[in-house]
């Protein structure tokens, strides 16, 4: 007598509506590697197994929000769309968990020219943290960061993994315009501005690398689930790399 291979237990996932055309899958209530992996696994499964009526999905820290077309889910009005989409997603949960793979992306290297005109707040962050500017740079460029999600602006990564010693509050008065590529700190978070926008993060450097281009097939350089490192560069290298950017 043969037995079917047992599926691993499905994670405890809460499903609830976000209005009449979206459903949220909540994989946990706090940021954790396990929650992140479960969201990544489910995103990958959905991308490979799209169902009729799937519009798109948005991974975040603890949630995956799935947008759907209620008309298509209703199959010409025969089903209640929410019940139908919930049923489809519930059936996918154990399958997605079973096919989960450890992320195999190599870390993306983001060159950053720290301080000077590119990092107007480096001295301020150093003063706040009691570190020297060189130590701030060393600690900021040491860890491998995890891209938890992309949001706020096109290609803007929410990163996890910053050294807690670097934590510095936002500016009381946001700058009217922060240039694209600016690398900043806001509380315990660090990130890279992908578009010129107003912003209140403490700016410690800038990258010449573009994070976003609508002409790219995949318009965001970074994707949720990837890892990245910041690599300190000199100003001459910044200008050389900038010339090579499209």
């Amino acid at each position: 007598m043969s037995t079917a291979p047992k599926l691993p237990p499905a994670p405890v996932v809460r499903l609830f509506p976000l209005g009449d055309a979206a459903i949220v899958l909540e994989f946990g209530d706090a940021i954790s590697p396990a929650t992140h992996r479960a969201i990544q696994a489910f995103s990958a499964y959905l991308a490979q197994h799209p169902f009729t009526g799937l519009r798109e999905y948005v991974p975040a820290f603890t949630t995956l929000t799935v947008y759907y077309d209620p008309w298509l889910l209703s199959e010409d009005g025969r089903y209640q769309p929410y019940e139908k989409v919930e049923e489809i997603l519930r059936q996918m949960l154990p399958k997605a968990a079973a096919t989960a793979q450890a992320a195999t992306y190599p870390a993306v290297e983001i060159p950053v020219c720290y301080g000077g005109v590119f990092g107007l707040d480096l001295a301020l962050v150093a003063a706040h943290t009691g570190l020297s500017p060189a130590e701030v740079i060393a600690r900021h460029s040491a860890p491998e960061y995890l891209v938890h999600m992309i949001g706020f602006a096109p290609g803007f990564p929410y990163l996890g993994g910053m050294d807690e010693r670097l934590s510095t509050p936002r500016k009381a008065q946001p700058r009217p315009l922060v240039p694209a590529g600016a690398v900043g700190i806001a509380g315990p978070q660090t990130g890279i501005y992908s578009l010129p926008t107003p912003g209140g993060w403490q700016l410690i450097g800038r990258t010449p690398i573009r994070l976003f281009d609508p002409e790219w097939a995949q318009p965001s350089l970074l994707q949720a689930g990837q890892h990245l490192r910041f690599v300190p560069i000199e100003e001459t290298e910044f200008h050389r790399l900038q010339q090579h950017e499209p």
Binding site: A21, P81, I150, A153, T197
Partner: protein, 334 residues
């Protein structure tokens, strides 16, 4: 086939039904604020519903049709005229080359839509012609229209050509000719004097005090002057969240009513950010996006709670009406 812009108006942009599939990359959906109005305008000129048209805000542009066109205007009544004569909304209109479209006083609503048969020959960006103003792409050069812009038209569908021939063949010798039929009233709503916005509870509804929950459904809110394509800041009783727990950023969408620490809610619109960190008190139902899109600063609104099942039943009923309109127009042309 092209349209030349004589005067830009307050904010005139090329919009379709939005850029879907890239919110995970942080890219906004954009698209028409009143999507139903754009869909109806497209159907009236024989287009696919998702074709791009012009979204016209309050003070409309001056547009000259450089060749014969079949057009339709829907949404807000901004007193449109053709060569100085009033033209009705919600019907196909044939215009001969050289005809000038202009707008006057905004009578009702705030956003009108102009569809032209065939739509526009503009390169889609990430699958859509919608203008994304902040990032500067989509539409015409990623920006609002300006005087002297020329928008190239695309070839009408067979249905669009038939409709146009029918109206153009009227031997009255006028520069333009309007059809006498219109869609059913439910597909050409007049902006209500006392707008009621139906919503279902948002994911963080339970975190608000009982009093704030009641206030939200029972007290009026007014639209402030901070109201644009991204969202409307509303003013009303302070809405108090009973927990200080930090919210982790998560998805927000069109119609999400989020409440920052100030206690004054924000209703998110077509250019909403893809994610946000404010508690989501409520979610406006899709069929009421049109009412929301047509509001003006200073207007007072009343929220009304409905169930998810009711919201989706209304959604399906609206889709049936749009499908019936499409069939009716095709049937007329057989």
């Amino acid at each position: 086939m092209s349209l030349s812009i004589r005067r830009p108006g307050l904010l005139t942009t090329v919009q379709d039904l939005g850029r879907h599939g890239y919110q995970k990359d942080g890219i906004l959906v954009s698209g028409a604020m009143d999507a139903t109005a754009l869909r109806v305008a497209n159907l009236l000129v024989g287009n696919e519903e998702h074709a791009a048209g012009l979204e016209i805000s309050l003070m409309g542009p001056g547009v000259r049709f450089e060749t014969d066109h079949l057009i339709a205007l829907t949404g807000a009544n901004l007193s449109p005229t053709l060569n100085g004569q009033p033209v009705g909304l919600h019907r196909p209109v044939w215009v001969s080359a050289g005809t000038e479209l202009a707008f006057g006083a905004p009578v009702a609503g705030s956003r009108a839509y102009l569809a032209v048969a065939g739509g526009f020959a503009l390169a889609p960006v990430l699958g859509s012609q919608a203008t994304y103003l902040r990032a500067g792409f989509g539409g015409l050069h990623g920006r609002a229209l300006q005087a002297r812009d020329l928008i190239p038209g695309a070839a009408p569908t067979a249905l669009g050509r038939k409709l146009m021939q029918l109206l153009a063949s009227n031997e009255s010798g006028t520069a333009w000719q309007s059809a006498r039929w219109m869609p059913e009233p439910a597909l050409r709503p007049s902006p209500p004097a006392s707008p009621v916005i139906r919503a279902i509870r948002g994911p963080e509804y339970g975190q608000f005090s009982t009093q704030s929950q009641l206030d939200f459904w029972q007290q009026p809110f007014s639209v402030t002057t901070e109201a644009d394509r991204m969202g409307y800041r509303l003013q009303g009783p302070d809405l108090i969240r009973q927990t200080t727990a930090e919210m982790l950023s998560t998805a927000v969408t069109f119609g999400t009513v989020q409440v920052p620490a100030s206690g004054q809610p924000i209703a998110l619109m077509a250019d909403h950010q893809t994610t946000g960190g404010y508690p989501r008190l409520a979610q406006v139902i899709t069929v009421d996006f049109s009412t929301l899109a047509q509001l003006r600063p200073g207007q007072s609104i009343q929220f009304k709670e409905v169930s998810l099942a009711e919201a989706q039943a209304l959604y399906l009923a609206q889709e049936r009406r749009l499908r019936a309109l499409k069939r009716a127009i095709e049937f007329k042309m057989l």
